[in-house]
Symmetry: C2
Subunit: 468 residues, 2 copies
């Protein structure tokens, strides 16, 4: 990297927030996905003005800039694939204001999402998006990937709760988008354009979130099914009975086995599928609703249904679901975690396709996910040192993407496109659709400074590449 | 207009769907806002392919294209301010599929929004957005203006329900954005960029809407207040008690008087404000909630509170609210209808500013609106032939826009910017923010073909202009 830009940054960023040593840079070279890339420099900015200056310098010297939250990205969101400058946003975590009267939260991008949940709940409010990583991931990262977790069906995704932003643009301007009102049609919706843009269209420096009153109560059940297809019927019947659960989580047999192998919780090893269903709202309403969910599950052939009677029992049910990630991590050193999403009615077909793919390539492939909104998480557990197996993984991942699109779904529900899925963008969007996206990127970031190498496919690369 | 383009269009659009006579063109020269502009030609396309051909020709011959639904726009959305071609979308109204299993509606753009409500409700589903015009306006127009009506607080705006589109781009490509899944982060969110773009970024040819289960029951009350500020306390207290009403509609004293003058329904003429509050959900829950709303209204000083006991009583309460538009139309020949939106806590301050503006300029200014989401509708009733009064209206409208922005709000909550509010865009967005929007328009529509003259301010025009 050019020495001049380094000198220029040193003039306004003190030494303790500027990193150039190899051992420091290594810690910025990975995220929760696949691959490792060394940056040339890492900076911990403390405000929008510092970021603006850095981005302007980066444009002058044509150096890539990679914003980074807690680096829990499963798609390579924060990987510095072309070197350059890491913006470690961890120091921008001071502001978290809950505006009770306007049902808003105003937060710095580096605030941990779980803190927003906690502070909102203290005053009887609720921020529904809840990615599995919410205890470590930042709100800035969450919204740039639009990662949302289990409550998308009832409450919508992260996007539905971000109503205003302060952003440093790819050319270094500081702008505000949206504001403090839910209704806003003053020009184009730049807020929602930037949410989910994976850090390629702007660096978020402040977030305005809409909150809602906290549901008064919740009820949870765990149902197991001998036939996977029956769990699909349960989901459809619950919804068509006018019940909108806060969460409907699915785990397949491989997932159940992995959890029982890791920390036995008494799940039936022969069940083809397991559903965790949670309803929330008024106590009288949900008593009736959870009873109806129980009856529906049994009527379509559930083997067992257990409704949690206490908070402790609820925690136990969720424990089985939350154990999935650590459990499957035990199965092998490398985890490829996907988020192919299909229309709800296609979940059984998608599960069938995933089973075929697992058998065809003889891989450890477990499936869980947010069944209510069709957002599945097929995970392949492998070892990246095993080149032969990685070739099979490449093919399997390709087929997963193809299956999702063929079934009327999408490449990514909440992890983002990042680097792995970029070769498939044209398959889903078509040439003209992808070109519309690229033209926005080019108009806003003519020097391709912000998070280059993500979302847009490289010429000639039309398949997943996991091996050198 | 160039004769060649007319000849070229005649080759694939039959005579009965192509209009050139002055008497026909007159009927395309207005909408529900202010001003009248004659197009050169009007076409009724029947599919995306026809529109694509027309748009490609328009790019070749540099002729503006103005898509038009039912022309209920209050901001000039469909006015052909630079002449050219009107695309009358009324013939694209055939498709309306309710996909019960996936909780979706798939519709042609010319479908009347109320038909979507009806068809969804027939199978126990619900499409919450409900602009006052929903019995005449089209879903295509609704979504391009992101007009949403009273239920934004609880259910979000139209944008929150549009998850996929088929669109003809400004250069004539046919593309699909989003899809059938609520979760989708495959590249930039073009769906939400096009929703609310007022027809400047694409012509919508198919819409995929998310539906939700229909709430099982609802309860409605009407409360009157001697002091406007007390109605504000009622709203805040209801929300902080964990109740999220489906609607909280406010009418001011001028509004009450206009309604009583038009069709007496027994509203108290001395009330400074009136609230219509509706809760929906599980029958047991809403019984309790409406009782709490009643008690809260009384505790902050409501003069009267009436809870509807039957559907008939509910209809009567809503009649008072729905009578507002026809009632105020009686007050004068010209109505300027605004939609300045402020953070909820600023409603009393905004109402105070509107009162000052009314007195300062001595105008008939009535205020009603969706208080729950801060979306107010100040309406000035005037006569456009009275040039002296129109000058005062110009100043008053300017001050309304300034007040909304100064109070942390926005120029437009749901009517769009159109032509009247364009001069104020930079005031709200700043130079850099407006430039980001303009750069998208330029990248997608280099010839400025689609709905030119809207949203973006003309150079040198920095105030509302209503007189010649």
């Amino acid at each position: 990297m050019n020495k001049q830009i380094f000198q220029a940054i040193k003039e306004f960023i003190p030494e303790n927030r500027l990193f150039t040593k190899l051992e420091d840079l290594y810690s910025y070279s990975y995220d929760a996905s696949f691959g490792q890339y060394l940056p040339d420099l890492a900076v911990q900015p403390i405000d929008a003005e510092e970021i603006s200056k850095i981005v302007k310098l980066a444009n002058t010297f044509l150096v890539p800039v990679y914003p980074r939250g807690s680096a829990t990205s499963l798609s390579g969101g924060s990987l510095p694939v072309e070197g350059g400058i890491i913006l470690d946003m961890s120091q921008m975590s001071k502001k978290l204001v809950i505006d009770k009267e306007n049902l808003l939260a105003i937060a710095s991008p580096g605030v941990i999402t779980a803190n927003i949940h906690q502070e909102a709940e203290k005053v009887g409010l609720f921020y529904p998006p809840d990615p599995s990583s919410s205890h470590v991931s930042t709100i800035g990262g969450n919204l740039l990937e639009n990662s949302s977790g289990p409550k998308g069906l009832k409450y919508g995704t992260t996007k539905e709760y971000v109503i205003g932003l302060e952003v440093v643009t790819p050319t270094g301007d500081i702008v505000r988008t949206g504001g403090k009102t839910v209704k806003n049609v003053t020009g184009y919706d730049l807020t929602r354009l930037i949410v989910g843009s994976e850090g390629t269209l702007g660096i978020v420096t402040e977030v305005i979130l809409r909150l809602i009153p906290k549901p008064k109560a919740r009820k949870t059940l765990l149902a197991t099914f001998g036939q996977l297809v029956d769990s699909g019927y349960a989901i459809t019947n619950i919804l068509s009975n006018g019940i909108l659960p806060a969460a409907m989580e699915l785990m397949d047999n491989s997932c159940i086995r992995a959890v029982e192998n890791y920390q036995p919780t008494g799940l039936p090893l022969d069940a083809e599928a397991l559903l965790v269903i949670e309803v929330d709202g008024h106590p009288l309403a949900i008593d009736e609703e959870i009873k109806a969910c129980e009856e529906i599950c049994l009527s379509v052939g559930a083997t067992t249904v257990k409704v949690a009677k206490t908070d402790k029992e609820r925690d136990e049910i969720w424990k089985a679901r939350k154990m999935v990630s650590p459990a499957i991590t035990q199965l092998g050193p490398t985890k490829i975690s996907e988020d192919a999403t299909v229309p709800r009615s296609q979940i059984p077909a998608m599960m069938e396709r995933l089973k075929e793919i697992r058998e065809k390539y003889n891989l450890t492939l477990v499936v869980f996910g947010h069944a209510g909104d069709g957002n599945m998480h097929p995970n392949i557990i492998t070892d990246k040192r095993n080149k032969e197996e990685m070739k099979r993984v490449e093919n399997a991942v390709s087929e997963i993407f193809e299956a999702a699109v063929q079934l009327g779904g999408t490449l990514s529900g909440e992890h983002g496109i990042g680097i792995l899925k970029a070769p498939y963008m044209e398959m889903e969007l078509g040439k003209a659709g992808l070109e519309l996206m690229r033209s926005i990127k080019q108009a806003w970031d003519p020097n391709n400074i912000l998070n280059p190498g993500k979302i847009f496919p490289k010429p000639g690369i039309t398949k997943v590449v996991l091996t050198d």
